[in-house]
């Protein structure tokens, strides 16, 4: 699409006209979000050359090479991509279980006062316990049992994959994601307008339909927000759990292990991967929030 310059007016192939000011504004607005990272990298470059010590601060270039060759094996720890994938798989499974339990429970707790009172005291006792505080107990319970143990698979390629999905890890992720999702779901259902529920009842909705067609859609924006927060926490908990002794794969393991080998470049490459994966997952949810639930923000104003 050619841009033709004519009397200070740009015109593209679609005949849409931009003034020079518009284009200037565009470039500026595109540039703003990358300014801070560029500054950080610059700072890193300067500091790395000043310090000149690979263990304290490796150069931008060394870390960059690792990031751009994600499938390369790293000193017998598996590849960067492989470890990220193992961690992601753990999160996806543990997180899905948390969502499947927390959402229905949250909906009935939000709707029926009696059920709320039944569960709330009990759940409040466990809420303040940090997910990582569960690790010793969970190790005692599950040890190194994994999905492979559950399915009775002991050899082959499948074993390697399934053996990486340890119950202890899944449990930690579950705890991390469970509470944000539960709390937001309860909150979302509790704030559904009484008139909406009454309207549905007058229009002939059954109790079941009120749940499926009124409460859940009405609470969905809140549920999605909880799922977004829960995913962030689950990801953080997992990486921390993987850093604990006994872990043999995953991005958290890779970082800790690289540290013991004084490979700070791998540590930083791993950290950047964690950040990028977390941000990408968050972005997906934000997209869903914006696209599907724009009605909420506008309906509230």
């Amino acid at each position: 699409m050619a841009i033709i310059f004519n009397n200070g007016i740009f015109q593209n192939g679609f005949g849409i006209k931009f003034s020079r000011v518009d284009i200037k504004l565009w470039t500026v607005s595109l540039l703003i979000p990358v300014l801070a990272p560029i500054f950080l990298i610059f700072l890193w470059l300067v500091l790395a050359s000043r310090i000149d010590n690979q263990v304290i601060l490796p150069g931008v270039w060394e870390v960059g090479i690792l990031l751009f060759h994600p499938t390369q094996d790293m000193i017998g720890m598996g590849s960067l991509a492989g470890n990220v994938l193992v961690s992601l798989l753990r999160v996806v499974i543990g997180y899905s279980i948390a969502a499947v339990v927390a959402i229905p429970l949250g909906v009935v707790m939000g709707y029926y006062g009696l059920i709320f009172r039944f569960f709330n005291g009990f759940l409040s006792l466990f809420r303040p316990i940090p997910p990582l505080a569960w690790v010793p107990l969970v190790m005692a319970w599950f040890g190194i049992a994994s999905l492979a143990t559950l399915m009775g698979i002991e050899t082959g390629k499948l074993f390697i994959y399934l053996n990486n999905i340890k119950f202890s890890m899944l449990f930690i992720i579950f705890i991390g994601a469970f509470y944000p999702i539960l709390t937001s779901t309860i909150q979302g259902v509790k704030t559904v307008g009484v008139t909406l529920i009454d309207s549905a009842r007058v229009l002939g909705a059954s109790e079941n339909q009120i749940f499926r067609k009124v409460l859940i859609p009405a609470a969905m924006p809140s549920i999605i927000t909880g799922m977004r927060i829960g995913l962030g926490i689950a990801w953080m908990c997992l990486v921390s759990a993987e850093m604990l002794p006994g872990s043999l794969s995953g991005i958290g393991y890779m970082i800790t292990h690289a540290f013991t080998l004084a490979s700070t470049d791998i540590v930083i490459a791993g950290m950047i991967s964690i950040g990028v994966v977390g941000a990408l997952m968050d972005m997906v949810f934000r997209r869903i929030e914006l696209k599907k639930f724009s009605w909420r923000k506008q309906a509230e104003s």
Partner: protein
């Protein structure tokens, strides 16, 4: 007009007591007796808190009477039924649904096939002149438009009786008058039985065949007034003003009585 004398809703000895948060008993409405005739337009007027909405909610099956009964045709009303629709003052449309899907919600609950219910819903959108907004969301509409959609949604469920709980209470004066005219048009088109609760005497005199004047603490029906003015009614008609005055005086008495 022999058909008009057919009783469609009968309320006998209806009382409703609420328990307040402090545990006190509060008598909202007391010993209401009332007959609504088929195809009639009835308005209930009264001061705030006289229990007029409570009568409507019990009639719709949303709440239970403490004593007394409500009958639709010959059967007692204890839960919501398709024959009785209810239009709320506001915030009743499902915000995540388009206008068309909102109107088709009743048939959706009744598991009517998607294509058919959307097709039928369109007819009702035409009736309230909202067909151009079928794909809009409620938050994109003005208050008056939303109430048009709410009316269409209630009608799409094909009830015999349409209960309306201050349906125009949240609208500005101009929109309110416009929608009153529209409601009369829809009523004449569909031959529904309408019971409309309002605190606007003007609205009641403009719309109703019969006006029930209520007093509060406890809610009682003080007077039943037949309105024998030809439609369309003009607010400039001296009869209109005289009747409005009468009712306001009646309400004034009710208020004096209720003061300690």
């Amino acid at each position: 007009m022999n058909e008009e004398s057919l009783e469609i809703i009968g309320i006998q000895g209806l009382s409703k007591t609420f328990t307040t948060q402090k545990g006190n008993q509060f008598l909202a409405v007391d010993k209401i007796n009332l007959k609504i005739f088929k195809n009639s337009f009835t308005c209930i007027v009264g001061p705030s808190g006289c229990g007029k909405s409570t009568i409507l909610r019990i009639t719709a099956g949303l709440e239970q009477a403490s004593t007394g009964t409500v009958h639709y045709a010959a059967s007692p009303v204890t839960k919501p039924c398709a024959e009785i629709g209810l239009v709320f003052q506001e915030y009743s449309l499902f915000p995540w649904m388009t206008v068309l899907d909102n109107v088709a919600a009743g048939p959706e609950f009744a598991k009517v096939d998607k294509k058919k219910r959307r097709h039928d819903a369109m007819d009702y959108l035409f009736m309230v002149k909202m067909e151009a907004f079928k794909d809009s969301y409620p938050h994109e509409l003005s208050g008056g438009m939303r109430q048009r959609v709410a009316i269409a949604r209630a009608l799409a469920n094909e009830p015999d009786v349409l209960l309306m709980d201050e349906p125009f209470g949240a609208l500005d004066a101009h929109t309110r008058i416009l929608l009153q005219q529209e409601l009369l048009r829809v009523w004449e088109l569909t031959h529904k039985t309408i019971v409309l609760v309002t605190h606007s005497v003007d609205e009641a005199v403009f719309l109703a065949d019969e006006i029930l004047v209520m007093s509060s603490h406890p809610g009682e029906i003080r007077k039943i007034i037949q309105v024998d003015m030809e439609r369309p009614r003009s607010r400039a008609n001296p009869k209109f003003g005289a009747l409005t005055d009468d009712i306001l005086r009646e309400l004034g008495n009710g208020m004096v009585k209720s003061q300690p």
